[in-house]
């Protein structure tokens, strides 16, 4: 941010210190500095699900080099990570683990759905063990299309995330709100099929209907 953007109009600054001193309000200064720090050191979770993970590694490697965005520090533990790149097909067997990982990440945290599978199920959507998009469970910030997205596409997604972070306001972000710490996503249960605890009443009601599934309807 330039000095003249920061400076509030109406305050005269002597000519000889014009490029050194700025007079501004706390709010106007804090948000850009806070966001700049945050967006320049997004630490992704070292977490690969499928094919997309390889492109994620390629984006980390020499040719594409995510270090230019301050994102080269991959953390294997969710407790130190800011960004979860859901890089690949989310299966029903895996989704309880993914939700747990998300719950363990400290705020502020962001989720990126990388590739067609994480966004919507992709080519495997019809599969019986596939969750049709991670957004059924987690709040997604950025979707990156592609199967798999090229490293360039992933980088574009990361730039979009940075733009999103730039627009945040300290006074409004969810992680400074009262009572926010208690917000955890309930971990899905593996029963006869995947059960989302938030949807138990729906499941009960739909199962009580006479013909419930295509299988029972005989196709």
């Amino acid at each position: 941010m330039e000095n003249n953007e920061l400076n509030l109009p109406g305050y005269e600054i002597p000519e000889d210190v014009k490029n050194v001193v700025a007079v501004t309000t706390l709010d106007r200064l804090l948000n850009p500095v806070y966001n700049w720090g945050r967006r320049s050191s997004v630490w992704p979770l070292m977490f690969g699900l499928a094919c997309c993970a390889i492109e994620m590694i390629a984006a980390q490697a020499s040719r594409y080099d995510l270090a230019r965005f301050g994102m080269e520090v991959m953390r294997p533990t969710p407790r130190q990570a800011d960004l979860m790149i859901v890089s690949g097909t989310v299966t029903k067997k895996m989704v309880p683990a993914i939700v747990r990982l998300y719950n363990q990440m400290p705020e502020p945290k962001y989720v990126m759905a990388m590739g067609a599978c994480a966004s919507s199920g992709g080519p495997f959507k019809e599969g019986y063990n596939v969750v049709a998009g991670i957004d059924k469970f987690l709040p997604v910030d950025v979707y990156v299309p592609g199967c798999p997205p090229t490293p360039q596409a992933l980088m574009n997604g990361l730039i979009m995330l940075q733009k999103k972070i730039d627009k945040e306001k300290i006074s409004q972000v969810r992680w400074y709100r009262k009572g926010h710490d208690s917000v955890e996503i309930p971990v899905p249960i593996l029963g006869p099929d995947l059960i989302d605890p938030r949807r138990i009443p729906d499941i009960k009601a739909a199962a009580a209907q006479p013909v419930t599934t295509p299988a029972q309807a005989g196709g």
């Binding site: 690969g48 067997k93 080519p123 019809e126 049709a132 249960i189 029963g191 009960k204 599934t213």
Partner: protein, 580 residues
């Protein structure tokens, strides 16, 4: 190229008169063995006829005949085509004896057949679900089991083509999601089977004792599915005595994307891009195996130039896979980043060639039945020549020099994770794993496909059977691949790359076929059954990483927990292929 790869040179029916009969269905081959005679016949196949390597065990649901069929493909490690035998069991009560005691390599594949088809193998030491979780409803690959987003039996779905209407699958499902539950299912009242319980029971019992007046106990460590060194979503439950591994169970299925079921709904050609996503490092070799399997059924000849392009692509794939292997393996051993970054630099150059010929870096979808999708242009050939003749030999030497004589590396890998040649064969290891145990078995030489019989190359093989040997075999193999590439790039003729006009819908005669290739990770094979319709009746992938894990427990017991990571890295698994 004849129809099903099987050898009728051995007359099993004459050896077991009255019990065993030849499979005479048109397009099929091999023998049908009654379930009660299976153990006797299988022992004879291994010991008398010498088929010591059991490659694939899988089931097919012949719902019209009310039968389940279990198909076995056995090979000789000295080379030659497959020996196919089958067991037919009634659909209502599919029970047959397990062959685990004859070929231990059947262990995971029998579990898979139980999981997906509900076929029971009596005498199996640990018959649990393997890809789905314990407590899941139904056996998905049965023909009368429908997935929640079921639309029609086969593609192209009428709603999409020719009418072109599309509604979200969620709208049609009563649960508005990819879910199905039994009628009157009440999640609050049902007690669920704990998917973990059976798993922990299958491990060795906890053992506590008093040593020097101190009570000691075994501890249980869960590694994965989210762990930086399990190469994806693989999970292993390890029981430790101090730091030493006492018992270990791999847990798979966290990336089970229902390849086989989706493959049965697809048309033959629609499966090609799906094969890319099996072993996502090596889409070209995946394509190769599937193309071979279907070409065998269709009985078509591949033009000369296309064959050369196929070989060039698969060998480039092998080099980039092994480079990544080196990088990741060294990462697992603690040599963070440098080898991996070096490997990725070369890989990018190979991927540039793939991108140029196929249009995509990773998911190439390049092979077609009878040829390849696009010709390899002059520019791509020039790039390949530059890489193969000028750059890569030096880079492989550099990697070799940089790492192989490094004392820290050698002391970490020498003598670790030993697997003898007998055990490697018995557990159906293939690829570099088998060759590092001193068995020179390479499908490119043992049962040559495509035009591999024309090239002069050595089968990389090391007798030590430890991690260092596995590492060295990969380095040797890269050099051999460069040799093949050098010859192929010099000999590649001009000409067509596809016979006739490309077709959207291919006609595949009824029958079965088993197409296998030496993928960089081992034997990758496809078992395809056609009934003459536009879609495969059964589409099964025999993944190399999956079967190669059979010996993981054996290799790890007695080693340190830190070595488990290295041993797993040495197998070179990839989850897309492992879980499918």
């Amino acid at each position: 190229m004849t129809a099903p790869a099987s050898s009728l040179t051995i007359d099993l029916a004459a050896r077991f008169p009255g019990a065993v009969s030849a499979d005479v269905r048109p397009g099929y081959g091999g023998f049908i063995v009654p379930a009660e005679k299976l153990i006797e016949v299988a022992t004879a196949i291994r010991d008398e006829f010498g088929y010591d390597l059991l490659s694939a065990v899988t089931g097919v649901d012949y719902i019209a005949d009310n039968k389940m069929e279990v198909v076995y493909h056995a090979f000789k490690t000295t080379g030659g085509p497959a020996f196919v035998f089958k067991v037919q069991v009634p659909r209502e009560n599919p029970v047959l004896p397990s062959v685990v005691n004859i070929w231990r390599g059947a262990e995971f594949q029998e579990r898979e057949a139980w999981d997906l088809l509900g076929i029971k193998f009596e005498g199996h030491p640990d018959l649990r679900r393997i890809l789905m979780w314990e407590g899941f409803e139904g056996h998905p690959l049965r023909k009368d089991w429908k997935e929640p987003f079921f639309e029609e039996e086969v593609k192209p779905f009428k709603s999409r083509w020719p009418d072109g209407k599309h509604t979200f699958a969620e709208v049609k499902n009563p649960f508005r999601d990819n879910l199905q539950f039994p009628a009157d299912f009440d999640p609050e009242k049902v007690t669920f089977t704990d998917p973990e319980e059976a798993l922990y029971k299958s491990l060795k019992k906890y053992h506590s004792e008093t040593r020097d007046g101190i009570e000691t106990d075994h501890i249980l460590v869960n590694m994965g599915p989210q762990h930086p060194s399990t190469h994806g979503v693989f999970r292993a439950v390890v029981m430790l005595d101090g730091e030493t591994v006492v018992s270990l169970k791999p847990v798979m299925g966290y990336l089970h994307r229902n390849h086989d079921k989706i493959g049965e709904r697809n048309t033959f050609l629609q499966n090609m891009p799906y094969t890319d996503r099996l072993d996502y490092f090596c889409s070209m070799t995946n394509n190769f195996g599937y193309a071979l399997a279907v070409e065998k059924l269709m009985n078509i000849q591949v033009p000369e130039r296309a064959d050369y392009i196929r070989v060039i692509m698969s060998e480039l794939t092998r080099i980039q896979n092994h480079l990544i292997f080196l990088g990741m393996f060294l990462n697992d051993l603690g040599a963070m980043y440098t080898p991996a970054l070096y490997a990725f630099e070369e890989r990018e150059l190979i991927l540039d060639i793939f991108e140029e010929v196929a249009g995509a870096r990773m998911m190439c979808n390049y092979f077609r039945f009878g040829g390849v999708a696009r010709d390899m242009g002059e520019d791509a050939l020039r790039k390949a020549r530059e890489l193969v003749f000028d750059r890569l030999p030096g880079k492989v030497d550099e990697m070799d020099r940089l790492l192989t004589e490094n004392e820290v590396l050698v002391s970490r890998v020498k003598g670790i994770g030993y697997l003898s040649a007998e055990d490697a064969i018995r557990t159906s290891m293939t690829g570099p794993m088998l060759r590092a145990s001193g068995v020179p078995y390479d499908i490119r030489r043992a049962d040559p496909y495509s035009i591999y019989d024309r090239f002069d190359f050595n089968v990389a093989c090391r007798p030590e059977g430890d991690l260092l040997a596995r590492y060295m075999v990969r380095i040797d193999e890269m050099r051999e691949s460069l040799k093949i590439l050098g010859q192929a790039l010099k000999q590649i003729p001009a000409g067509p790359i596809f016979p006739g006009k490309p077709q959207y819908q291919v006609k595949v005669p009824a029958g079965e076929s088993y197409g296998r290739v030496e993928s960089p990770k081992g034997e990758l094979a496809y078992y395809v059954v056609s009934n003459g319709k536009p879609n495969p009746y059964r589409y099964h992938v025999r993944p190399s990483s999956f079967v190669n894990l059979t010996s993981l427990e054996q290799m790890c017991i007695g080693e340190k927990i830190a070595d488990f990571v290295a041993i797993l890295g040495g197998i070179d698994i990839v989850l897309g292929e492992l879980d499918r």
